[in-house]
């Protein structure tokens, strides 16, 4: 279905701290062209690979364009997305 890849957008997701160590520093996901909420992205990822389960936990906060966002935030193609564990501070 060539239409399929045309309506989706490749999203690069950055992971830090213990998440980066457990899962990898970066993972990719397909984002629907109309975007998707943080809550949906977590579920999509957890369903795709059991190794991504830590990303579904509330302690992993989502950042979009380097700012922490809420669960109902809708991620659009082209944005920088990251999941971060609780900050340990300086």
């Amino acid at each position: 279905m060539p239409i399929h890849w045309c309506l989706e957008s490749r999203l690069r997701i950055l992971l830090f701290g213990s998440l980066g160590e457990q899962i990898g520093r970066e993972i990719d996901a397909d984002l629907p062209a109309e975007g998707c909420s943080v809550a949906s992205l977590r579920m999509l990822l957890a369903e795709r690979d059991p190794a991504f389960a830590p990303l579904a936990r509330a302690s992993a906060r989502a950042c979009v364009d380097q700012a922490i966002v809420r669960e109902d935030y809708v991620i659009r193609p082209g944005q920088e997305v990251a999941f971060v564990p609780p900050l340990s501070g300086g």
Partner: protein
């Protein structure tokens, strides 16, 4: 305008202090804080060092926000934050914070304020290398309580 910097290599607090003092602007008081990687964990296990993971861009922004808030809150204060990232050995400096002000009270308060906020809000993830294994660290309840001290009415 606050000076904020991430350092991959050794942080030399005396050079940072020299640089901060060279930017003097008639202030009478300069308070600096140096945080050093301790050779033991909270529960007393020997620690060889730690790894500070950071999020390029977001981490610098978190430091800049804290320094700028301190300058705004303690009027006439000039601030500097230098922070290590990556591998830090026990005994090495992790963070240098300095505040300059006309009077000593505001310089002390500005440095204290920055450290309390850095301990909970700086965008770092810390892995401690204990002799019995590595562990990721989160802020303590005490760190959160320290930050909370500043949430009440403005001082002075």
């Amino acid at each position: 305008m606050a000076e904020v910097r991430l350092e991959p290599g050794p942080l030399e607090p005396d050079r940072a202090l020299r640089e901060f003092l060279d930017g003097a602007n008639g202030e009478g008081a300069v308070v600096s804080f140096v945080g050093i990687a301790r050779p033991a964990s909270r529960d007393g296990v020997a620690v060889t060092g730690l790894y500070l993971d950071h999020y390029p861009g977001m981490t610098e922004a978190s430091l800049a926000t804290i320094a700028a808030d301190s300058e705004a809150r303690f009027g006439g204060t000039r601030a500097m934050v230098v922070h290590r990232y990556g591998q830090v050995n026990a005994g090495e400096a992790i963070v240098f914070v300095a505040a300059a002000s006309k009077h000593r009270r505001s310089a002390f308060e500005a440095a204290d304020y920055m450290m309390d906020r850095l301990k909970t809000e700086a965008a770092f993830w810390k892995r401690e290398h204990r002799i019995d294994g590595a562990a990721w660290i989160e802020p303590t309840e005490q760190d959160r309580a320290d930050t909370q001290r500043w949430s009440e009415a403005c001082p002075e």
